[in-house]
Amino acid sequence: MNVQANKWIGQRTIRPDGADKVTGRAAYAADTTMPGMIWGKILRSPHPHACIRSIDTSKAEALPGVKAVMTARDLVDFPIDKSVMLGIQDMRWMCRNVMAREKALFAGHPVAAVAATSEAIASEALKLIEVEYEVLPWVIDVEEAMKPDAPILHDHIQFEGKPSNIAGKLEHKLGDVEAGFAAAEVVVERSFRTKPVHQGYIEPHACLVSVLPDGKTTIWSSSQGQFMVRAMCAHLTGLPQNDIRAIQAEIGGGFGGKTIIYLEPVALVLARKSGRPVKMAMTREEVFRASGPTSGSYSTVRIGATRDGRILAAKGTFYLQAGALPGSPIRGAAGCAFAPYDIPNVHSLGFDVVSNRSKVAAYRAPGAPIGAYAVECVLDELAEALKMDPLQLRLKNAARQGTKAAHGPTYPRIGFEETIQAALEHPHYRAPLGPNQGRGVASGFWFNAGGESSAQVNITEDGNVVVTTGHPDIGGSRASTANITAELLGIDYRKVSVLIGDTSTIGFSNLTGGSRVTYASAMVVTQSTEKVIRTLCERAAKIWKIDPDAVVWEDGEARPAGDNAGQFPPLTLAQIAARASETGGPIGAGVQLNTTGAEGGFATHICDVEVDPELGTVRVLRYTSFQDVGRAIHPSYVEGQMQGGVAQGIGWALSEEYIYDKQGRVDNPSFLDYRMPVCSDLPMLDTVIIEVPNPKHPQGVRGVGEVPLVPPLAAVANAIHDALGHRFYSLPMSPPKVLAVLEPADA
């Protein structure tokens, strides 16, 4: 597509849902009520690991105002030793995550729930539920969980023939890694640790569920996919999917953490039992204790190169903490770690390790930041050993078109080199630094994703446009859809309304996640709009009584072409719409696809920090991210994704971590003690959008949202090394750790 010719693609239009959100009227998950609604609350295990001997709910049921009580017995049982996959989630784990069955596997694990006429009564009723636990030894840390004498969470899980907490292994191999290391002249090997961190969405999980006596069910909830909510609830409750209408509320942030369910099936069962609509909302403490953070990790990376900086071999081993049930993002860690580089010999291994903490959920480029942190820090040391500029080392080994990646693909046209070149040429890279200041760089990769999407484009009787897609809009995707539709139709984008359909009003659409929404919805919206344009031309041809092939659509109107050019005055969208009934009926088209061709995304980041030698605090002074986005349909929201990911990465690097007490419970389950970056912690976050169009996409789009979280951990770590001359091999690089280096206890 010719960039110069675009009127709306690439414009910073006002998002269709904007006024709704700045006036406080947008309805999020907790903002809706229903007549007769009651409140549901969850009883959670105080123990990180315990057999549930019995649960007596009789006293709770007898409390006036209590309308329903439930336990895991009220959900469909999926035997623990038989996999039932739904997308990437295994329902035998999901059913146990929603409510403990045989054992409570983490402190905060749901064991029962009640619904009552008020929140206060529901809370009171929880205290009346008697649970008999047999407390078991527990383990939280990923390395501890792999020790021979570690408590075993799941008896049926075996690794190398023995009961183990290692629940899965993933391996990528390319070439002969031992031969590669043998030929290498410089080898660097280091081990790294990261703490589990939470996605940190500001909106806690919430839902409102109504079940009618005939089983017809409405779920109003905040999630990254209404179809996921429908399917999982159907699996867990036994309802057929057609009886469940899942309506996506506006979503107050997700970052992957809302790609699974927690409350919805519980509220559904309570609503079914009580005959009343049930509302549930997590407290922030519950969000921290029991909703999906991402893994903590222990990684070892070894990279070997020639003296002139050609990387010959790389090996990475990544142990990721899954939490109570299997499912660590080892694919992202082991698959993305070396993906930016053209390395002939690679061996990358990921291990999925269960332990007694809440089950992980996806978090922005799941696993990839963990892998990249280790690799990009080792590359920094390698550059130092080779006396090479760290960006030049990356450029020399950058993957490009034709590079075979260890995780499988041979790359088509990609834009990684362009990100490094742009960083090298940017004034930031040459700006002077003061005392206690340092600069670090790092790169990163994410697969991106296609998958199922549906769209419907309808022309209103007055000649405007309503587009419906099936993806919750988590960060401005409606604006991209409006830009694309307006561009194709040649009309003002304000004539396009964009809505998100529920499971009963639009075709199946996979999750908002994996950096897939703008990519995939652009494809179905484009094809739907092209069908509409063909219809509009046919209607004009009918009015003019000429052949439809002799009509073209230009600048928002049908024009006679070829031999008929100039014979009739053009017909606008509004004129054709006004005559829709007489020319064949309503005008609209829908397309449903399983989209493919989402090619990888790459970024390179530059970070400047200043270390306060007295306080041990690290302040990010300047940050610039360079990312190949393929094509920025709405540049402001592309920049917003880049800035948001960087901010989360800075938090992961410097201040965020789960802290556990001696009883195995989260000790910092609040925003006060779990320290995410606040406004005064950060500088402006500069962005450089690089557009190397994806040849497989109608607008050239690649995914955007995940990649920005991949490089920052190492970029910050490398900057601190540049400032202090000391390397940290564990995150977060918080003041106590920094001070321990600056003021050693024995000094």
């Binding site: 006002i14 006024a19 947008a26 999020y28 907790a30 969405y201 942030g253 901010a647 005064s680 402006m684």
Partner: protein, 160 residues
């Protein structure tokens, strides 16, 4: 215990409500009064999503008892636009894409409005510290700060 009767003013409208002695202002706003623009992100005063003003002072409504509203003036996000005219901050947030998911936006806007009322010409640092009590996980704050500073400049220009 019997419910308390409270007479207050919300967004310029005389308002009465009944509440439990222990109920927070946020609960009453979101519940009986139906003003769900103020959001609950934490319930402990750490996130700022429930920010309102009480007699012009910024507060987290989750930390204010509803009974404290007696004879006070409350402003919430629902009163920020005048009729169909958005406040300049609201308009600028849209133009500069200073929101993504939007859940923190009502609180951020309430805090930013109070900032500009008290300090029409804030520096970037002043704006950052003023808004440090309003968590945003989506934007990295960059576009929020730019929008606040741009709005301040425009409002100063308009006031000349």
């Amino acid at each position: 215990m019997a419910k308390l009767h409270v007479s207050t003013t919300i967004n310029g409208e005389p308002t009465e409500f009944l509440c439990e002695p222990s109920q927070s202002m946020l609960d009453v706003l979101r519940g009986p009064l139906g003003l769900t623009g103020s959001k609950e992100g934490c319930g402990s005063g750490d996130c700022g999503a429930c920010t309102i003003t009480l007699d012009g002072r910024l507060v987290c409504s989750c930390l204010v008892l509803a009974a404290e509203a007696q004879d006070r003036e409350i402003r919430t996000i629902e009163g920020m636009a005048e009729g169909d005219r958005l406040h300049p901050l609201q308009q600028k947030f849209l133009e500069m894409a200073a929101l993504q998911c939007g859940i923190c936006t009502p609180g951020v806007l309430m805090a930013a409005r109070t900032l500009l009322e008290q300090n029409p010409d804030p520096t970037e640092t002043e704006a950052r510290f003023w808004l440090a009590g309003n968590l945003c996980r989506c934007t990295g704050y960059d576009k929020i700060i730019r929008a606040v500073l741009d709005t301040a400049a425009e409002m100063r220009e308009a006031a000349r």
